[in-house]
């Protein structure tokens, strides 16, 4: 639903707060990046903000560079308020205008994170997310519609999506391969956990 435009004007690089035009269009964009800053999913709801794919990806890179070192929950980049959260090797971002109520954006982020936590059975990491990409698309679709917060209660979202993650994403897989996968996943988790610890020490 990217063709809907949000009537609220955004102001870049200034922190000045103009009065808010009352509107339901709260979320400017939402995106999920991996720990190299690559896009796994992203939706821009305001077509005037970063109309081209190149601008979008630049913005994501910029946001990623400013946020991946410390889990600070909130940042202000290119005139946009950004709330974020990281989990193992994933970064979740919700973007709103500089004037937006930060707590509303947080509500969206929390709902997204908890809903995904449930459908992925707490394995909120890259591989698992990619294996259940269909569920992820549906969750995002249920939480935000064209920039409007559609639902903010994770229980409701889960119920509406009614999606179950597959233990064995593809039945043709051999057992051996499955085990290698799982092992790889664990080592991956370990790796990311190490990274996390390293950063928290470096902070």
């Amino acid at each position: 639903m990217t063709a809907q435009t949000c009537p609220r004007q955004h102001q870049r690089t200034t922190m000045e707060i103009a009065s808010l035009e009352p509107s339901l269009y709260t979320v400017k964009a939402v995106f999920i990046l991996d720990n190299d800053g690559n896009r796994l999913l992203s939706k821009y709801y305001d077509t005037e903000l970063y109309p081209s794919m190149k601008e979008q990806k630049n913005f994501e890179k910029n946001v990623f560079n400013k946020t991946h070192k410390a889990d600070n929950e909130i940042a202000f980049v290119e005139g946009m308020t950004i709330v974020y959260k990281c989990s193992i090797d994933l970064f979740f971002y919700v973007v709103g205008s500089a004037q937006e109520n930060e707590l509303m954006l947080m509500a969206v982020l929390n709902c997204l994170f908890e809903s995904l936590g449930q459908i992925l059975r707490k394995n909120v990491e890259r591989r698992c997310l990619l294996d259940n990409m269909d569920g992820v698309f549906l969750v995002v679709d249920e939480i935000i519609d064209g920039g409007v917060i559609l639902e903010s209660d994770p229980q409701q979202v889960i119920q509406k999506v009614n999606y179950r993650a597959d233990e064995n994403p593809l039945s043709e897989q051999s057992v051996a391969q499955h085990i290698t996968d799982k092992l790889a996943m664990t080592s991956n988790i370990m790796q990311s956990a190490k990274e996390q610890i390293k950063w928290s020490i470096l902070k």
């Binding site: 922190m15 707060i17 600070n72 930060e102 707590l103 509303m104 890259r126 698309f137 679709d141 639902e151």
Partner: protein, 879 residues
């Protein structure tokens, strides 16, 4: 196919992305299995996911291939797999803009929307509205109305949100659903409430009364949704702002009551709304500030951020209201979220005392490199404000700013720092040398041309007046060697200024200039040659006119002097002046002002060429075409038009005053607004109050209905009494009326004389003076010299502020304020205003006006000019 995909996966290792090597063509190939029977939901689901993933990554789908895939996808509606169906809805939404004929799924979606499966209904509505246009919307209008009031919350919410999206496209249709939305607003479900409120507001926002009623209703009934509360607060504060209602209004009470809501989101929204209200008193702010204070110690980073950002905003206007939070803010300055820490420190800088400045600056410098540019700009702004508040702290600030200048950062950030340093230099003369030194260091490695030229200009202006100007030469000449053309050109101009003002530096500057004359860029070479020749004359007057005040280097960097260099410049001064005049450019900020006034003594009889016709040029041409006005010389000044009638009268007359060396021409632009009259032989008879003599009237022959025409009067200025610069003329419009048929415009043969009294026309001293900007006023002041200096003191009893006095003087004398002296710094009791201009006949006039504010304003005016009479005229007119 799937096997292959897995294999790839395995090869690329554990952390690989199963979608990484997707190829659009392969995926579209795979999409053919959509047509197989029976449908394999699992595989189809996987392929749909891949398609959406590709779209999401920005892969471009051609209309043909998208349409093909879309049509294949429609077959999947036959399957009853829930997730597959949901993914179909998503695909429809994603492809709505790239595929053709998406409307073919309308019936399938309408079926799902009205069907029994509640899981499908909401998403189906949203997908349907995405592909619907205004005409089709009417077909589904009935279903939409039902859906809005559906008892299943997800259906109702989906319908409301989709309606909101469609308001823009089909306002008239959606408007009819207002009653349903109203009903939905009383739903128990919190999201339905919120969405209904949003839609209702959107439909009614242009009707203030309806909005006000709606607010009234909802604020009383009490909603459950915190989102809806936030929305209500925003609507209420907008309404308050629009109606300019006082803060005793029930709307304000409502917002204030939200400060006690149990949801932090609502409390914050209310506090923020109060803070952002214009004209809020400290007492009204207090409750909002105290909730924000509580939020400062919240464990949630977002809440702390929100609170401190809002407090920062309060501190800009009401620093005292925030002092109560100082302790909480102190705790935040070490916050691990640097944005919060920065905001806390900049807030404290605004509210704290002078003694805490050093400590805070030290704290902030410890992490300034970690924060984003936006926040760095906030820091610089805070410092800038601080410098004005505590001028004594400028050394600490300067040090800090220079460190920031060395860090990496974008253009906006660097510009903020440079501006800040420049303003410190301007306000604290003792900081000038350190400031210039920092800026010199900065331009050594500066990638921003605009900043480099700006700094070079400043160096040229300020550097020569410092105790040891020689140390700047190296920095400037380095630019000539290393930088781009624009910077090199600016550097050459700056060098010239050093050479012109410091005799002992002149030989070295000339050597450097010589080298610049070899530059590869035309502009740089031309400038160097020009300055070289001017400097070699070693004449103070020339230097002042053509180096300090000749042009505005950084405003007009492309000053083209090429025409000059081919002229032999070593002739007598008069000749030099003349040929220079050819290239004179209008000043960047006063387009109508011309430099020709600078050489007026020798050039009054010759018309200089000017680039591009100005308003004055056009008049000059028009006047030259009238035989009576030949031999008046060149046009000295053209005033703005003065209205001599009310706007809505039978005849509209406005006057433009043209000043020549010894005469004035009054041009009356007349419009006849009566469609049953033709005016002929129209002229304005003038009765002067002083010794002005009306020489000629040039009437307008015909003045038909609504076609403007001009008549002129030529007046000789009194020669025996040059001080008589002001005069009042009583004016009467005289004409011959011929009645005519309003439809055909055919006039009668006979007419009768008539007249019409106009308002009086004033000629003031400003009409005799042309504005000239002297970027270096001091040099101009010395150039004119003190031969005819006079000084007098006046009391302006009726003026209450310095600003007002400055404004009055400027508009009265019609002269150009220099050295930014038209801006009076705040909280000062005295001010010096510098004005420059050229008096009719070509004499430079400079006015230095010292103003002191006591009980009323006392003004000491010093006037210098190259002609004594002019000095007397100015003083006499002021008195």
């Amino acid at each position: 196919m799937i096997k292959k995909f897995d294999k790839k996966d395995e090869e690329s290792g554990s952390g690989s992305n199963p979608f990484q090597h997707l190829e659009k063509s392969a995926v579209l190939q795979e999409a053919r299995i959509f047509n197989e029977t029976p449908i394999n939901p699992r595989r189809c689901l996987h392929i749909l996911t891949k398609i959406i993933y590709l779209l999401n990554q920005g892969e471009h789908f051609g209309t043909m291939e998208a349409t093909e895939a879309f049509f294949a996808m429609t077959r999947l509606f036959q399957s009853n797999d829930q997730t597959l169906r949901r993914m179909c809805y998503l695909t429809i939404k994603e492809m709505a803009n790239i595929s053709e004929d998406v409307i073919i799924v309308t019936s399938s979606l309408t079926k799902d929307m009205t069907g029994k499966e509640d899981v499908y209904r909401g998403p189906a509505i949203r997908a349907l509205c995405r592909i619907t246009d205004t005409t089709m919307l009417q077909a589904i209008e009935r279903y939409m109305k039902q859906a809005i009031v559906d008892k299943v919350p997800s259906v109702s919410s989906s319908a409301l949100v989709s309606s909101l999206h469609m308001v823009k496209m089909s306002y008239d249709v959606v408007k009819r659903w207002v009653n349903e939305a109203q009903e939905a607003a009383s739903s128990d479900n919190i999201m339905v409430q919120y969405h209904a409120l949003g839609l209702l507001y959107h439909l009614r926002k242009n009707d203030r009364l309806a909005v006000s009623k709606m607010l009234n209703k909802f604020t009383k009934s009490g909603l459950k949704s915190p989102f809806a509360y936030c929305m209500l607060i925003r609507i209420a504060s907008k309404l308050l702002e629009e109606t300019e209602a006082g803060h005793d209004s029930p709307l304000f009470d409502f917002i204030e009551s939200c400060l006690r809501n149990k949801h932090e989101m609502v409390v914050y929204e209310a506090a923020s709304a109060i803070v952002h209200m214009p004209n809020c008193t400290a007492r009204e702010l207090a409750p909002a500030v105290s909730v924000l204070q509580l939020f400062c110690s919240s464990p949630k980073a977002a809440l702390r951020y929100a609170a401190v950002r809002t407090l920062n905003k309060v501190a800009m206007k009401h620093p005292s209201a925030v002092t109560a939070c100082n302790l909480d803010l102190e705790n935040l300055i070490t916050d691990s979220n640097r944005s919060i820490a920065t905001l806390a420190i900049t807030t404290l800088l605004k509210t704290g005392s002078e003694s805490s400045v050093d400590r805070l600056m030290k704290q902030i410098s410890s992490f300034v490199s970690e924060i984003s540019d936006e926040f760095k700009v906030v820091v610089v702004q805070a410092i800038s404000a601080l410098c004005q508040k505590y001028p004594r702290k400028h050394s600490v600030m300067m040090n800090f700013l220079s460190n920031m200048l060395r860090d990496d950062g974008g253009f906006e950030y660097k510009r903020a720092i440079v501006d800040c340093i420049i303003s410190i230099i301007e306000e604290n003369p003792e900081s000038k040398e350190t400031g210039l030194a920092h800026l010199c260091e900065f331009i050594e490695d500066c990638e921003h041309t605009v900043l480099a030229t700006k700094i070079l200009h400043l160096l040229g202006k300020e550097g020569p007046r410092t105790p040891s100007p020689s140390k700047y030469i190296r920095f400037i000449f380095n630019r000539v060697v290393l930088e781009s053309e624009a910077v090199r050109a600016a550097a050459v101009s700056a060098l010239a200024k050093f050479g012109a003002q410091n005799d002992d530096l002149l030989p070295s500057v000339l050597v450097l200039m010589q080298r610049c004359m070899m530059d590869s860029d035309d502009e740089v070479r031309d400038r160097a040659t020009f300055y070289m020749n001017v400097l070699q004359q070693k004449q103070k007057a020339l230097n002042a006119a053509y180096i300090f005040n000749g042009e505005n280097t950084h405003c007009a960097p492309s000053l083209n002097l090429r025409a000059l260099v081919c002229v032999d410049i070593s002739g007598p001064i008069q000749e030099v002046r003349l040929c220079l005049s050819v290239s004179s450019v209008p000043l960047a900020n006063t387009p109508i002002t011309e430099q020709k006034t600078e050489f007026a003594p020798v050039a009054t009889s010759k018309l200089p060429e000017k680039p591009g016709p100005t308003r004055q040029d056009i008049y000059q041409e028009q006047l030259a075409a009238i035989p009576e006005f030949q031999g008046l010389g060149s046009l000295f000044k053209t005033s703005e038009a003065v209205q001599l009638t009310e706007a809505e009268t039978e005849y509209v007359v406005r006057c433009v005053k043209h000043t020549f060396a010894r005469h004035m021409v009054f041009q009356f632009d007349c419009t006849n607004t009566l469609n049953d009259q033709l005016l002929q032989k129209v002229m304005v008879q003038m009765e002067p109050s002083e010794a002005y003599e009306v020489l000629h009237y040039v009437p307008a022959a015909n003045l038909p209905y609504s076609q403007p025409g001009s008549c002129y009067s030529l007046v000789r200025l009194p020669e025996d009494d040059p001080t008589a610069v002001s005069c009042t003329f009583s004016c009467t419009l005289k004409y011959l009326v011929k009645d005519c048929d309003p439809n055909t415009g055919e006039p009668d043969d006979d007419g009768y004389d008539d007249e019409y009294v106009l308002e009086d026309l004033e000629v003031t001293v400003a009409d005799h003076i042309q504005k000239v900007l002297k970027p270096n006023f001091a040099a101009a002041w010395d150039e004119v010299g003190g031969d005819f200096e006079k000084e007098e003191t006046f009391a302006l009893a009726s003026v209450r502020t310095l600003d007002e006095a400055v404004g009055n003087i400027i508009s009265f004398l019609g002269m150009q304020p220099c050295e930014r002296s038209d801006k009076v710094p705040e909280n000062k009791n005295s001010h010096i205003l510098f004005l420059a201009g050229v008096f009719r006949g070509g004499h430079d006039v400079l006015v230095r006006s010292r103003l002191a504010l006591a009980d009323g304003v006392t003004m000491q005016v010093t006037v210098r000019s190259s002609d004594e009479t002019v000095v007397d005229i100015i003083l006499a007119s002021v008195g």
